[in-house]
Amino acid sequence: MSATARPAASTTSPSSQPALVLRGLVKHYGDVPAVAGVDLEVRRGEFLTLLGPSGSGKTTTLRMIAGFTLQTAGTIEIDGVDMSRVPPYRRDVGMVFQNYALFPHMTAAENIAFPLQMRRLGRSEIRRRVADALALVKLAGHGDRYPRQLSGGQQQRIALARAVVFQPRLLLMDEPLGALDKKLREALQLEIMHISHELGATVIYVTHDQEEALVMSDRIAIFSEGRIEQLGSGEDLYERPVSLFVADFIGESNILRGRYEHDGEGGWLTRADWRWRIGPSAVARAGLASGSGAALVIRPERLRIVGADEPGAPGTNAIEATVTDVLYLGPIRKYELQLPDGQPAVVRQHGGGEREWRAGERVRLIWAVDDGVLVALPGG
């Protein structure tokens, strides 16, 4: 295993040069911008995920890094070298495709040997490295099978071995688990994480599955309409989304729209009928002008359901609601509710002795002031 592993990033990289730098990357198809200006720095050994809905530009960005698609504008730097015009077969970047893209007329071992043959390594060196790579993905002994004789999960592991065996500068993965079922997907998520850490590889991972992104990534770049909407750790994105788009795309959200008004350290979200307190850190992060349109985002597990008449505690906000559905999900119970203005709300209750409410009951939802995140409204 150690034979295929590259020395840890810290010992080889001169100072802290990033593994990948994208500057002003743009791709137009005809008049349509698929990627509308992406700037990104990826650190050595980092696991960075491009996450977004289909058509948001994440896959096009990955294909430009691989060299399959030529950018309309901008530059791509790998290990400090400008690769913007270098053809894909000289970029020294490994890629794992969603449909595996294993060569069907070659055995697993021949597939893994292919990049080494292209680099004109010696026969015995190739044999040794292929064996190491097969062991790395726990498929030693499967080398003489053809891809069609392997299961989906095994094929994807061979594809991973083929993409790392030549010690590429970057490892690109394009929804590699998209074709697998849930249980296998979760097992392979852990395996890919462990292998990439073991190799010290820099990984750019594309997915549209937010849970997969949260589990696997050091950092996540949320794509929307050809741009990066937010870049940060999973916790940054979930706890401190910068926009309604991010709040909606990562996890479930309750959204209250209104007008932001400054008040002392914190502020208020006001509506005709009601107003809610906003904490100082949320106000600081949002940096909104007093009087502008804004929304308050509260995660479903931060809301607590109490009786309609129960008084609010200090440091909490409250809103009235009616329970519409109670959904039992095993470890949690989910309540779907309707707010007075007809908007839906959702609350997650995590077992353990809390009172159960029934559909039709009038209740109050309360949350700690610090659990509300303030974001701007588009055009607000």
Partner: protein, 264 residues
């Protein structure tokens, strides 16, 4: 539970039986007539004999026809599979103005009535002085066969996963090595099937061959054509059976090749 009940079934059985009868009897008739002991082509044979097979395999008129046909068909298979594969690569992978027009023109021999192609070729080849030659017939039959090769190879190219070529480049293979190591091996079954169909196209062809051959250089179908209008001894039935056997064998081969193609 089934949607076919008794009255429908009976009707279908009768209609189906008659259809199969009319479709297959003319062909199946020819086979026994070749083993006939009669001196003329007649059904049913009054007795059995291998006389006509002996004649088919010894009479120089038939044996040279057989040799000519094999030669023309084999050369047609080679010429049209090479040109057809190149054309397919251009049509599927290339990007150039007039691509749709080129595609339509290359496939046009499939739809133009063969009698018109024959008349046109005859007018042209007479001027080029290649009527009655091996070269002329190979060119003519390749013209008829290339569209089949193009269809077969283009299908292989289109169903081939483009990501395999991208993966090869990603792993360090330049355009030439990608073509030789990945693309060509994967479309080879399509090329081979196309070559076999090209062989058959030439092997069976009679209309163009009648126009472009002379008494000195005739293919087997033309020989059969001439003989059946003059003599009426059963040798032609024996030859037909041989021709049919070759056709069926080649066709089965083509299907086997298609089946064994790796699922890409």
């Amino acid at each position: 539970m089934t949607s076919w009940r008794q009255p429908h079934r009976l009707l279908l059985l009768i209609v189906g039986g008659l259809t199969v009868f009319f479709l297959t009897v003319p062909t199946l008739l020819v086979v026994p007539m070749g083993f006939s002991s009669s001196q003329i082509l007649v059904f049913p044979p009054p007795g059995w004999s291998l006389e006509w097979y002996e004649k088919a395999f010894t009479d120089p008129q038939w044996t040279s026809g057989f040799a000519n046909s094999l030669q023309v068909a084999a050369l047609t298979a080679v010429v049209s599979s090479v040109l057809g594969t190149l054309a397919s690569l251009g049509l599927v992978r290339g990007r150039f103005p007039g691509k749709n027009l080129a595609n339509a023109l290359i496939l046009s021999p499939l739809i133009v009535p063969v009698i018109i192609i024959a008349i046109g070729m005859f007018s042209l080849y007479v001027r080029w002085k290649i009527t009655g030659t091996l070269l002329g017939l190979v060119i003519a039959h390749s013209t008829l066969a290339i569209p089949f090769v193009v269809v077969s190879v283009s299908t292989s190219l289109r169903t081939m996963d483009r990501n395999l070529e991208l993966a090869a480049q990603n792993l360090g293979a330049g355009p030439v090595r990608t073509f030789l190591r990945i693309t060509l091996p994967l479309v080879l079954p399509g090329v081979f099937a196309g070559a076999l169909f090209a062989f058959l196209t030439s092997w069976d062809e009679v209309v163009v061959a009648i126009f472009l051959t002379t008494a000195k250089f005739r293919t087997l179908p033309v020989e059969m054509w001439e003989q059946v209008r003059q003599v009426v001894d059963p040798t032609v039935a024996a030859v037909a059976t041989v021709v049919l056997t070759v056709t069926t064998t080649v066709l089965l081969l083509a299907f086997v090749v298609r089946r064994q193609a790796p699922a890409t």
